[in-house]
């Protein structure tokens, strides 16, 4: 049983006009097997939370704690966090020219597992994941994210999640840019990994589309850098019906 605990997390970014606080005290606990969704308007700080957990250097933690099974995540480098069992499926995965998907995945799996996977079992493992996610086998020899369509990038992110088997995975706007068919394939992949590995999931999204495919038990409404309200799936339905403005203290985007 893994447990990611976020306590009173404050995060700033350095901008042209000095430091700006984006997260203002986030509290959240995610355990193995649980599916949480953070919903909120654009600009509310949702992605900042995702990248802060992963350790992106742009975000400065000014106070608070993040622990994974008691270990101090904030003291770890980005790669140490991944090896400890955290994963971030990114909204905009970057291109890495010169590195093939196959080489990248095997290098990552070697780093996470602590030893190189046996070539034969690795090949079948990769083939199976690619088939489920309807990723063409030719992907393996292409450069990471280079020339990938939006849908291909998202499927590639979930492919990595399946192969790296994190304890807790954060999915940042995984539904954005996907048509309904692509969304179903990606969601089926996420559900499959969750069911098989008992992964704790944190879905970050501003629409309820993804939640219709991946059943979140806990829904948190995010506004102005804090969790405003938490509840069950009914909260998502309320957002769908009334929008974010119905929630007190959640300013509309851009305010």
């Amino acid at each position: 049983m893994a447990e990611l605990v976020i306590r009173d997390l404050h995060v700033s970014v350095e901008g042209d006009e000095g430091a700006r606080e984006i997260l203002r005290g986030v509290n959240l606990t995610i355990r193995s097997g649980e599916i949480h969704a953070i919903m909120g308007p654009n600009g509310s700080g949702k992605s900042t939370l995702a990248y802060s957990i992963a350790g992106h250097p742009r975000y400065v933690i000014t106070s608070g704690t993040v622990t994974l099974d008691g270990a101090d995540v904030l003291a770890m480098s980005v790669d140490e966090r991944a090896r400890a069992g955290l994963f971030l499926a990114m909204q905009y995965p970057v291109e890495v020219p010169g590195v093939t998907v196959s080489n990248f995945l095997r290098t990552a799996a070697t780093a996470i597992r602590g030893e190189a996977p046996k070539l034969r079992t690795w090949m079948s493992e990769m083939k199976e994941s690619m088939e489920t996610l309807q990723v063409d086998q030719s992907f393996a020899s292409r450069n990471v994210n280079e020339g990938f369509s939006g849908g291909e990038r998202k499927r590639h992110e979930i492919l990595q999640m399946e192969l790296l088997k994190p304890k807790i995975a954060v999915l940042d706007e995984t539904d954005s840019g996907l048509d309904i068919d692509a969304l179903k394939v990606v969601a089926a992949g996420v559900n499959r990994v969750h069911d098989k590995e008992d992964t704790g999931l944190l879905l970050i999204t501003h629409t309820t589309r993804l939640l219709k495919q991946i059943p979140a038990q806990f829904v948190h409404v995010f506004g102005d850098g804090v969790i405003v309200t938490s509840g069950g799936p009914e909260l998502a339905e309320q957002i769908d019906a009334e929008g974010y403005e119905a929630f007190a203290a959640v300013p509309a985007a851009g305010e």
């Binding site: 350790g55 250097p57 480098s77 980005v78 790669d79 970057v94 291109e95 010169g98 290098t107 450069n143």
Partner: protein, 385 residues
Amino acid sequence: MAVVQEEREIAISVPVNKSEVVSSFRADDFAVPTGREEDWRFTPMRRVKSLLNPLPDSSGAKVAITAPDGVNVEWVESGDSRLGQVLTPVDRVSALAWEHVEQALVVTVPKGSTFDESILVEIDGSAASYSKIRIIAEADSSATVVIDHTGTGEHASNVEVSVGDRSRLVLTSVQDWDRSAVHLGRIHTQLGRDATLQQVVATFGGDTVRLVSTVGYDGPGGSADLFGAYFADAGQHLEHRLFADHDAPHCRSNVVYKGALQGEHAHTVWIGDVLIRAKAVGTDTYEINRNLVLTDGARADSVPNLEIETGEITGAGHASTTGRFDDEQLFYLQSRGISADIARRLVVSGFFADVIDQIPTESIRTRLWAAVEDEINLVGAEQSQ
């Protein structure tokens, strides 16, 4: 091969047509370059100064040759009739090396013979030196030649190569100089009918290296692949100038040069000139230069230049890209558990693989991969400080 990310075409006003460039065996026919000339405008002239006039003593290098039985290797006087058949110097330094070298090495691959084992020419400099190497691959032959430069000192070289009709030559030139060395070199290859050249130039060491590699064609069917890999560290100047002179019909040239740069004032220059003359119908040419900038403070100049005098060609294209290994790429790879060191290694080795793996000589390939590894460790060490 990797998809070209950004393609930019640079129109450069060349003062004269490439065919009108001065060529001479006499150094006095060339003025001492000042750095304002088109051909020298990127070169740090102060650092190459000692090679702009005759060297008082040019015996500062040892040359060792290893060749399989059946290949003829001779040291000859500089007036030997086999010299100067296909190469004429196009700059003062090359002409000085031509005039003042004491002996030339002639390597002949006899007609109809095939050698799998590499012919290895090792030039080890300790002080200022000149070299002149003549490679003659006679008709219907096949051979692999490696010229390996190591050591210190200033060096000016001419490598004159003929690939006979229907012959195949694989020529690798490695510039693995010590950090203080200066090397100004010229390689010219003349291809016979249906002859094939595969050239790999790998430049990792030296303070300043400037190589001019040119190719000409004597008849139809000639095919040249010119590959290059270079890695410049802080303060190094590595310059590669290529010229494919298509003066026969139905010939092919393909240029792929890749360079990595790291550190303050690391500077690389790549000039890729291609001239398709009026009679060179059916020419097929492509050239690409890709640079990977690993740190701030480094500069890659890249100038492809294509002149076409006939419309009846099969293909002509060029591309130049300069990309950065940036923080976002590093973050992405690290977020998958890959350490910063391994991430850098992954990116750099992936970048060089399609050039270095072209080198058929295993010992050289292994050494270059080790050199790449050393370079990566260097930047890794700097960044973890």
